[in-house]
């Protein structure tokens, strides 16, 4: 369960770590060295998390078993929003906010109002839905 996923991320992270060490040790170039160090951690962080989760939960998920039948995963998959206006409102707020960086600070007013409305609206929507 999640073992293969964690191994992929850990291997990628380890490769970036080795590559970064060779690069920095050979070329002494700090910019690229720091970015490869970041990539190393970005591989290890989720990789270890998934490995910890795999060790903690123990069992096999039906999607990780070769012999699982569809019925083995019967029941609720998850809760999904069917429609929501709030992503559009949040996206519009971000759009106005970015335009404010170009055309003037006054555009942050509609930007921030839309962004806050979206945060409140999406949270309230999730509470009404109950299971998101």
């Amino acid at each position: 369960m999640m073992k293969q996923e964690s191994i992929i991320l850990l291997l990628l992270g380890a490769f970036f770590g080795i590559m970064g060490a060779v690069y920095w040790g050979w070329g002494h170039e700090d910019g690229g060295g720091v970015m490869l160090l970041g990539a190393f951690f970005l591989g290890l962080l989720p990789g270890f998390y998934y490995f910890w989760w795999y060790r903690r939960s123990g069992g096999n998920r039906p999607e990780d078993r070769d012999d699982a039948s569809i019925a083995d995963g019967a029941g609720v998959v998850s809760s999904f929003p069917s429609t929501s206006i709030w992503p559009f409102v949040l996206g519009s707020g971000c759009f106005f906010f970015v335009l404010s960086l170009v055309f003037g600070i006054w555009l942050t007013v509609p930007g921030v109002i839309l962004i806050l409305s979206a945060f409140i609206g999406a949270t309230a929507e999730s509470r009404r839905g109950g299971d998101v």
């Binding site: 999640m2 293969q4 996923e5 992929i8 291997l11 990628l12 970036f16 590559m19 060779v22 690069y23 050979w26 070329g27 170039e29 910019g31 690229g32 970015m35 490869l36 970041g38 990539a39 970005l42 998934y50 039906p62 999607e63 990780d64 078993r65 070769d66 699982a68 039948s69 569809i70 019925a71 083995d72 995963g73 019967a74 029941g75 609720v76 998959v77 998850s78 809760s79 999904f80 929003p81 069917s82 429609t83 929501s84 206006i85 709030w86 992503p87 559009f88 996206g91 519009s92 971000c94 759009f95 970015v98 335009l99 960086l101 170009v102 055309f103 999406a122 839905g129 109950g130 299971d131």
Partner: protein, 586 residues
């Protein structure tokens, strides 16, 4: 509003109840929730968002393509004054920006991937549907922001799509246009990061029972790796853009020599994003053709695990090649970047070998999707091999900033465009329930393929003859003039091919040929549900016992054949003529 989604029903080969259920057209997702403009604004369905992304990105391709046609019209004569020098700079900047930031990437990792990944793993939606919708709105906002550059008093950004410092400083690039370019990339950058999160989470957490990692279609595998690469690369670009904005407006000197900054740092940051980005753009199309070629070869994929290994290796190496764009700066570690860049040819070569291995001895059917896939392989091979030349510093010193480099990456991105159309022709029936017309499609393929070669080959020669890139006018040298004319003719043929595609879509909508659920007799899960699929995708799922679950279900008497024995695998893929018969019979 939220829906609790239960796992679809189990169904077995020969089970009339299960099969009957999933083949029933229940109106797709159109009957769910609001309709019209409100549906467009509020939908969190991955299929609606995927189509939104696809259509928007194709519009961006047409706009970016129009810029290219003006560029080539300007270059058709050595002393043309069709556009001013400043307008020429703006045009090539916007052409590159539209094509790279707003078309190729979003089309692949957010358009078709959004539509297909949940279907291919048997999931009801993406893992975070509202985040997915936000991704699209950020992308649309970014696209509009980029377009707004044309309304700025000083015109849009004119420093090239790579935005090298110090060309981007407030002194060298004043005005709102460059800031709008920065803002657009910030919005689309966050959009890409959210898409990456969604892809990885969906593939890790929402696969159907039995859909182990090594049974996923290669397209989904490639989207997993693309998602990981997005998460590694895009934050670096977005951070670089914030630094650039601070340099321009807040008095920092990160990329400016005055005050102790380092202009070269921008190139490191940009290409640390930019070269993985090449694979972020390419891997989805590798995945598409890897799914398409076996279907029209009537064989299982040759070397499934080799393909997965090659994709992961490309991802790993892609973070160690960024400074091969910077060889001529004289300030990078040449042997390291040369070795890493040459190494990446190995997994790419494995892929090309496996595509040919899949076709070898197969029962080939040259549909438009297959022709586009073969065109992709050939054109990508040309772009890839010339890329190997450029990975060698001595050759790069000779050709850097010449048309040879322009030709190299246009071979690559035109190959990706063929991959994009392969994907459109293959999955259009699933998305709409209608076939695209094969006759118009083949006309489009041949114009696109021939136009691409007529367009790129003279540019390779121009580069070897020393013509620098980004020149609006050039010396009246007969050989340069002649080759530029040919390149412009090629660009015109490519433009005609795009027009043929638009005509095809209109014709196919006006005189629809109903596709059915699985018109190509394909093998991955998206072909098990109706066309278009219902809201939350599946009423029933087949048992998943191999990487070809729908083939196993539909052909229980013909289990997956071994590699190299595929010539007797069964029926020909239905053509549009067969689909017509289905309409007539229904």
């Amino acid at each position: 509003m939220t829906d609790l989604i239960e796992r679809p029903l189990d169904t077995a080969p020969g089970d009339p109840h299960g099969a009957g259920d999933h083949h029933g057209h229940d109106g797709g997702h159109d009957d769910h929730g609001p309709s019209g403009i409100l549906k467009w604004l509020t939908s969190t369905d991955h299929k609606v968002i995927g189509i939104n992304y696809t259509v928007t990105s194709i519009i961006m391709m047409v706009i970016g393509g129009a810029f290219a046609e003006v560029i080539r019209a300007q270059l058709a004569s050595s002393t043309s004054s069709l556009v001013t020098l400043q307008q020429y700079n703006e045009l090539f900047t916007m052409h590159g920006s539209f094509m790279i930031y707003l078309f190729v990437g979003p089309f692949a990792f957010a358009g078709l991937a959004n539509y297909l990944v949940p279907l291919q793993v048997g999931a009801p939606d993406m893992a975070f549907p509202r985040l997915n919708a936000l991704s699209y709105w950020l992308y649309l906002g970014g696209s509009i922001t980029m377009l707004l550059g044309f309304t700025a008093s000083g015109g849009p950004a004119a420093f090239g799509w790579v935005g090298y410092a110090p060309l981007t400083s407030a002194v060298n690039a004043p005005g709102a246009g460059p800031d709008l370019w920065i803002g657009a990339l910030m919005l689309t950058g966050f959009s890409a990061i959210f898409s990456g999160v969604n892809l990885v989470a969906t593939i890790f957490y929402l696969r159907a029972p039995g859909m182990t990692l090594f049974r996923m279609p290669i397209f989904t595998w490639n989207m997993l790796v693309t998602g990981i690469l997005i998460l590694l690369a895009f934050p670096v670009l977005t951070a670089g853009l914030v630094m650039l904005y601070c340099d321009r407006h807040f008095g920092t000197h990160i990329f400016e020599v005055q005050g102790g900054g380092v202009p070269l740092l921008w190139q490191h940051i940009f290409w640390f994003w930019g070269h993985p980005e090449v694979y972020i753009l390419a891997l989805p199309f590798f995945g598409m053709v890897t799914d398409i070629i076996p279907v029209f070869s009537k064989k299982p994929l040759f070397g499934y695990k080799g393909m997965v290994f090659a994709t992961l290796t490309i991802a790993a190496l892609s973070l160690g090649v960024w400074a091969h764009h910077m060889f001529t700066t004289g300030a990078v570690l040449l042997p390291f970047f040369s070795i890493m860049s040459l190494l990446i040819a190995v997994p790419t070569g494995i892929k090309i070998f496996n595509w040919i291995g899949t076709m070898w001895g197969g029962n080939l059917h040259f549909s438009t999707a297959m022709l586009m896939s073969i065109g992709f392989v050939i054109t990508f091979l040309i772009g890839g091999i010339t890329g190997i030349y450029l990975a060698s510093p001595p050759l790069d010193f000779f050709t850097h900033d010449t048309y040879f480099v322009v030709a190299h990456f246009h071979s690559v991105v035109m190959a990706l465009t063929m991959g994009a159309f392969a994907g459109i022709y293959f999955w259009f029936p699933k998305m709409t329930g209608k076939m695209l017309h094969e006759g118009w499609g083949k006309a489009q393929f041949w114009t696109l393929f021939i136009g691409t070669q007529v367009f790129t080959f003279p540019m390779y020669l121009l580069g070897l003859h020393g013509m620098p890139r980004r020149m609006a006018v050039y010396p009246n040298n007969p050989s340069w003039q002649n080759m530029n004319d040919w390149a412009s003719v090629g660009a015109l043929i490519i433009g005609i091919s795009t027009l043929l595609f638009v005509i095809n879509v209109i014709v196919s909508y006006r005189r629809p040929i109903i596709a059915g659920d699985n018109p190509w007799d394909a093998s991955s899960l998206e072909w098990f549900t109706s066309s278009p699929p219902p809201h939350h995708n599946f009423v029933a799922l087949p048992p998943i016992r191999s990487e070809r679950p729908v083939w196993d279900f539909n052909h229980p008497d013909k289990p997956a054949l071994g590699h190299g024995h595929g010539t007797h695998a069964g029926t020909h893929p239905p053509t549009s003529a067969d689909a017509t018969k289905e309409v007539a019979g229904s």
